[in-house]
Amino acid sequence: MTAFVMVAALLAESTAEENQSDFVRSQVWISQSGLFHMTYISKLDPIVINRIHSWLLHVETPDGQPVESDDITVAGGMPVHNHGLPTIPRMTQSLGNGDYLIEGMRFHMNGYWEITITIDAGGNRDNVVITLEL
C-alpha cells in the first residue's frame, strides 16, 4: 500500500496535469519460478495502440518485500504474428522501494501481446510474462 501511494505520488508529480486516479494498478503477475510478484501501472490508461508511453513496475518477493535490482529488461511481441514490439523499451530509473520506470512502451496492433520482464536481483533471475489483449 505504501508503495502504491509512493508511485501514485510520483505519477502526480511527473504528470502534473494528469489526475492520479486515472491510473489503475494491474493485477499481480507472478514470475515463472515464483521468485517475484509484480504489478504495473500504465501511464497510458487504457492502453491503446500507436501511442508511446511509460509503465511503472512494482516488484516484490512473495512475502511482500520490495525487490531492488539494477538489471530489469523488457521484451515482448505478438506470438501469433511472430514479431516483437515496435520499440525497444527499457528500465530507465530505479525509483526505490521496488518501483521502476519503464519507458518506450508502444503497441502497434490490436490483438494478443506478451510482455516478458526479466528481473535479476542479486543472482536471482526470473521472468514475468504479462499478457495483454488490445
Binding site: T87, I88, G104, R106, H108
Partner: protein, 443 residues
C-alpha cells in the same frame, strides 16, 4: 409400380429444385449485409472513423509549428521552384495538391529520379516517422532532406539560405518569425554553394566554412524546414463515404447506412476488419500504425531489394536535425520515439505503413510504385509470396475473387477531398510583387 417410380422421381426433382433455390438464394443473400455489426465490431469501426482522429498535438520541437505567419511562409516555400539547384523544382513538383500531394509516378521525377515512390504528405503531422524508411523523425527535418538530394531539389543549404536572405519578401517574413539574418554577402565566408553532401565541390566548400558560420546557416536552413512543416501540418484528410457509413452505424441509422454503402462495400469492410487482417497495420483513423513492416513486396525490376527501415533507423539516429539534436526547440527533449526506436534485423526490408485514406487518388502504390492498382495490392496480399530479404509478416489470405472485389470496392470508399481550406492547396497568390521586384537588386 411405374407410377410409384414416377412419383418418387418427381419428389426427388422437387427436392432438388428446392435445394437449388435455397443455394441460389443463400448465394445472393451473401451480397446483402448478413447481420448487424456486433458491439466489438462497432468499436473497431469507431476506431477507424475520422471522428476518432484526436486533435493534432502541439509540436514542441518546432516553436513555429502553429504560427499563422509561419504557415504562410511555409506555403510560399513549398511552391517555390527557386528552392532547387536548377530553379525548376519545388516541393509541389512531386507533392501535387491535386493528387493528394503525390505525383502519379512510380518514383519521383525531379532533377533526377528519386529512389522511391513519392508518399503523400496528408496527415503526416501525426506520424512519428517520415519517409518510407522513417529516416527522419519530424516534418521539419524531413522537409530539408529532399532539398539537398541530388535527384530531387539538388541544391545546397547555402543556396537556400541566401535566397531567404536576398529575397526581400522572404527576408521580411523570416525576420518577423525568427532572428534577424546577419550579412551573408562575404563570399569567402559564405560561398554560393555549400552543404555537407556527396557532391565534392559543395562538401569541400562547406567543410572550409567556420564552425559558427555553418551553425548560422544550419539554423536558417532548419527554420526553412520548420516553416514548411507549419504549412504541412494543415494538410489533413476529410470525411469520406466510409466515415459517413460509420457515422450511420454509430447512430444506428439503417437508412443512412444503406445510402452510404452498397452491400458489396459492407462485405468489403467486414473483410477489411476481419478475415483479411488489414487492420493489423492499417489501423486508427488514418488507417496506419505509422510502423514498419516487411510484407514481401517484390523489389523494383533490376534493383537489389531495398533494406528499408533497418537502414532508416540508423540514419535517423545519426541525423543532426533529429529530436535529440541541437535544433529541436524543446528544452525537455523527451524524444521517446527516437530513444526507444527498434533497431536490428527484424526491420530488414520493412517500410512504413501508408495511410489508406485517398488510396484511389494516390496510385501507383508501394515504396517503389511497383503496383498500379488496388486490385494488384490485394492480389499481392492474397498470395503473399515470400520476401526476398528479411522477415516476411504477410501470410496468404486465400480470399475468393469475389471477396477481393468487395475489398477493392471498400477501399475506394476512402476517397475524399482534404478538410484543408482550398487556399492552402495552391500556390499562394499574395507574394508582394513589388517586394519580389526589389529582390533582384538585393545583395
Amino acid at each position: 409400380m411405374a407410377k410409384g417410380v414416377n412419383s418418387r422421381s418427381r419428389f426427388v426433382t422437387v427436392i432438388g429444385l428446392v435445394v437449388a433455390v435455397v443455394l441460389v438464394a443463400s448465394w445472393f443473400s451473401r451480397a446483402v449485409d448478413p447481420a448487424p455489426w456486433t458491439e466489438t465490431e462497432i468499436e473497431i469501426l469507431r476506431s477507424l472513423w475520422i471522428g476518432s482522429l484526436a486533435p493534432l498535438a502541439p509540436d514542441p520541437t518546432n516553436a513555429m509549428a502553429d504560427d499563422p505567419s509561419a504557415r504562410k511562409l511555409g506555403q510560399q516555400l513549398f511552391f517555390d521552384q527557386r528552392l532547387s539547384g536548377n530553379g525548376l523544382i519545388a516541393c509541389a513538383t512531386c507533392h501535387e495538391p491535386k493528387r493528394h500531394f503525390t505525383d502519379g509516378r512510380a518514383k519521383g521525377q525531379a532533377i533526377g529520379t528519386s529512389k522511391r515512390n513519392t508518399p503523400s504528405i496528408v496527415g503526416t503531422a501525426y506520424s512519428p516517422w517520415l519517409f518510407w524508411d522513417g529516416r527522419r523523425d519530424s516534418q521539419w527535418s524531413q522537409a530539408l532532406a529532399p532539398l539537398e538530394d541530388p535527384n530531387e531539389h539538388g541544391g545546397t543549404r547555402m543556396q537556400y539560405v541566401r535566397l531567404i536572405s536576398t529575397d526581400v519578401s522572404y527576408r521580411v517574413a523570416y525576420e518577423a518569425l525568427f532572428d534577424p539574418i546577419p550579412d551573408l554577402s562575404d563570399r569567402s565566408r559564405f560561398p554560393d554553394v555549400a552543404a555537407p553532401v556527396a557532391d565534392p565541390q559543395s562538401n569541400a566548400a562547406w567543410q572550409a566554412m567556420a564552425t559558427e558560420d555553418r551553425q548560422l546557416v544550419n539554423k536558417i536552413f532548419v527554420n526553412i524546414g520548420k516553416s514548411i512543416a507549419a504549412y504541412e501540418r494543415l494538410l489533413m484528410p476529410g470525411p469520406s463515404r466510409f466515415d459517413a457509413y460509420v457515422q450511420a452505424v454509430l447512430d444506428r441509422d439503417e437508412a443512412a447506412q444503406h445510402a452510404a454503402f452498397t452491400d458489396a462495400e459492407i462485405m468489403g469492410l467486414r473483410l477489411f476488419i476481419g478475415e483479411a487482417n488489414c487492420t493489423q497495420c492499417h489501423n486508427g483513423p488514418l488507417l496506419t500504425n505509422f510502423e514498419f513492416h516487411n510484407t514481401g513486396v517484390i523489389t523494383f525490376p533490376g534493383e537489389v531489394p531495398d533494406r528499408g527501415r533497418v537502414a532508416g533507423v540508423r540514419d535517423v539516429k545519426s541525423d543532426p536535425f533529429n529530436c535529440l539534436g541541437a535544433y529541436n526547440d524543446d528544452s525537455v527533449k523527451d524524444c521517446a520515439e527516437l530513444r526507444f526506436a527498434r533497431t536490428g534485423p527484424e526491420l530488414i526490408g520493412a517500410m512504413r505503413t501508408p495511410s489508406l485514406r485517398n488510396l484511389e487518388g494516390t496510385s501507383p502504390y508501394m515504396h517503389k510504385g511497383q503496383m498500379a492498382t488496388t486490385a494488384e495490392i490485394l492480389d499481392h496480399y492474397n498470395l503473399a509470396p515470400p520476401a526476398m530479404i528479411g522477415h516476411d509478416e504477410a501470410k496468404p489470405l486465400k480470399l475468393s475473387r469475389r471477396e477481393l472485389k468487395q475489398l477493392d470496392d471498400f477501399l475506394k470508399t476512402l476517397a475524399a477531398p482534404l478538410v484543408t481550406p482550398s487556399e492552402w492547396l495552391e500556390a499562394p497568390a499574395d507574394i508582394d510583387a513589388e517586394l519580389v521586384d526589389l529582390a533582384g537588386s538585393a545583395p
